[in-house]
Symmetry: C2
Subunit: 131 residues, 2 copies
């Protein structure tokens, strides 16, 4: 792939990555946070489908490739420092988290404890073994 | 300070930091992203005022200490991996970005360019030299 100029305005870290935040386009809720490299950001912008770089598996990761829970990107923003991306998305299946919840941020701080506030919408075993 | 157990549930990176996302508590808009260490997260949770760790200056940073643009934290969430925090905040002055804008995410991707969509609400020179 050619490298468009807009990719050069992103301040990649020493591993060639940026933080990417996926928010529900309607509610604004933060659904998940992951990383992107140049290729995944370019694919995300040009296809309108969220792609990340998985640090644990060290590969390009089209979100939903196993679960079916793809993310349609409505808009894409860059911060002042150029090292964080936000995406306003529509989440297929209403589930972004690998635990089967809408959002990865299902724990809230209350009086010195992390309290789980969100229910599991679908058993993760059913999510990852149906495809 | 003593170290409460809830701080041990956070997965600190190799520099002892986590990504911290500040969102407007009402609109859900992401206003800024920075880092926290143990001390800044503990202070944030216990005082209800956002504190970060500045990597460039390598010190504890109470947001707004110079600008007056403090952040009142309404709720604090942790993600499934334990390495990202979201805060739902009320932003003093309605300005989170050092450029004088509401949000650091004032550029949107349009047809292969980052386009500035947000106006400067207050001249940064006026923000940082009045205190």
């Amino acid at each position: 792939m050619t490298t468009p100029n807009w990719l050069d305005e992103v301040k990649w870290d020493d591993k060639g990555l940026v933080v990417a935040i996926a928010q529900d386009a309607h509610s604004g809720r933060v659904l998940m946070v992951a990383y992107m490299n140049r290729e995944s950001l370019q694919l995300t912008a040009e296809t309108g489908i969220a792609h990340y770089w998985t640090r644990s598996r060290q590969k390009l990761w089209k979100k939903g490739e196993e679960s079916g829970h793809t993310q349609a990107v409505k808009s894409l923003r860059l911060d002042c420092d150029g090292d964080v991306i936000t995406m306003q998305i529509e989440q297929a299946g209403g589930i972004a988290c690998h635990t089967g919840r809408e959002s990865c941020f299902y724990r809230v701080w209350q009086d010195g404890q992390w309290v789980i506030t969100d229910e599991v919408l679908k058993d993760p075993h059913a999510i990852y073994h149906q495809h």
